[in-house]
């Protein structure tokens, strides 16, 4: 299906970019006229995924993080967050609530749980030494207001 609107961005895996990344995605999603709660859900899920790239995927180095986002008919927002970092050995285990490989830095091990709870769909693909791709989707309730994304 062809998106109504799409964007892509790349940035370095520096923690200062966590706020930058979630703000950009939120600004992109704004054309769907989300509620404050929906916007907070999106920002939080993006923040978790980007933090995973910084804390885990590129734990020993600085690498590039790629985000693409697209808006489809019916208010569906899709966000893909990709890294070329160390990858995840056992994705299922990594997605267990409270599982963390970084307890010393007070990581709660809730990143994937938050993404799963706050978005409608979550898919994680990973290959050790190749990287990880997280795809999330959320449907924004259309409240009959004008939709800038539909305007050519």
């Amino acid at each position: 299906m062809k998106p109504i609107n799409a964007m892509k961005m790349e940035f370095l895996s520096k923690s200062a970019n966590e706020g930058f990344a979630r703000s950009v995605v939120a600004a992109f999603a704004a054309s769907l006229d989300p509620t404050i709660d929906e916007l907070a859900d999106i920002k939080t899920a993006v923040s978790e995924a980007v933090t995973n790239c910084i804390v885990h995927a590129y734990r020993e180095c600085i690498g590039k993080i790629y985000i693409t986002a697209a808006i489809y008919e019916g208010g569906r927002l899709s966000i893909k967050i990709k890294d070329n970092g160390c990858g995840i050995d056992d994705v299922q285990k990594a997605m267990e609530p409270m599982y963390t490989t970084s307890p010393e830095t007070e990581r709660a091990g809730l990143g994937f749980s938050v993404m799963e709870s706050f978005m409608d769909k979550l898919k994680v693909r990973s290959k050790p030494q190749k990287g990880t791709t997280v795809v999330m989707e959320k449907r924004i309730n259309q409240r009959g207001l004008h939709n800038d994304a539909r305007n050519d």
Binding site: D37, S47, E48, T105, E106, L110, V114
Partner: protein, 101 residues
């Protein structure tokens, strides 16, 4: 991110203002822990009244301070949370450890 620490009697209050994420949490926990060490309060109040965004880094922040306060026999109270912050805190089961108000 701005942090204001105030001490009265045996209570230490940390007023948090701004976004709490992995980038800002480190500085927050260092400053709060330093004050806990200096003042050994009985109660640590984490005031989320000025928090504009929080992801699961905030859970780590609260849990870590809970552990620090446990070590000196104190407790933690979390106040002024928005519905969204409460939603994240509930995911972690934090309400079983600290008072959420």
């Amino acid at each position: 991110m701005k942090l204001t620490l105030t001490q009265a009697d045996k209570q230490l209050t940390a007023l948090l203002v701004g976004d709490i994420d992995h980038h800002t949490a480190k500085q927050l926990r260092e400053e709060i822990d330093e004050k806990i060490e200096q003042t050994t309060p009985e109660l640590l109040v984490l005031d989320f009244g000025g928090v504009t965004f929080m992801d699961s880094s905030g859970i780590g922040l609260v849990m870590g301070r809970y552990n620090a306060m446990q070590q000196i026999g104190g407790s933690v109270k979390v106040v002024n949370t928005t519905a969204h912050i409460k939603k994240i805190m509930r995911l972690s089961g934090l309400e079983r450890l600290v008072t959420l108000a």
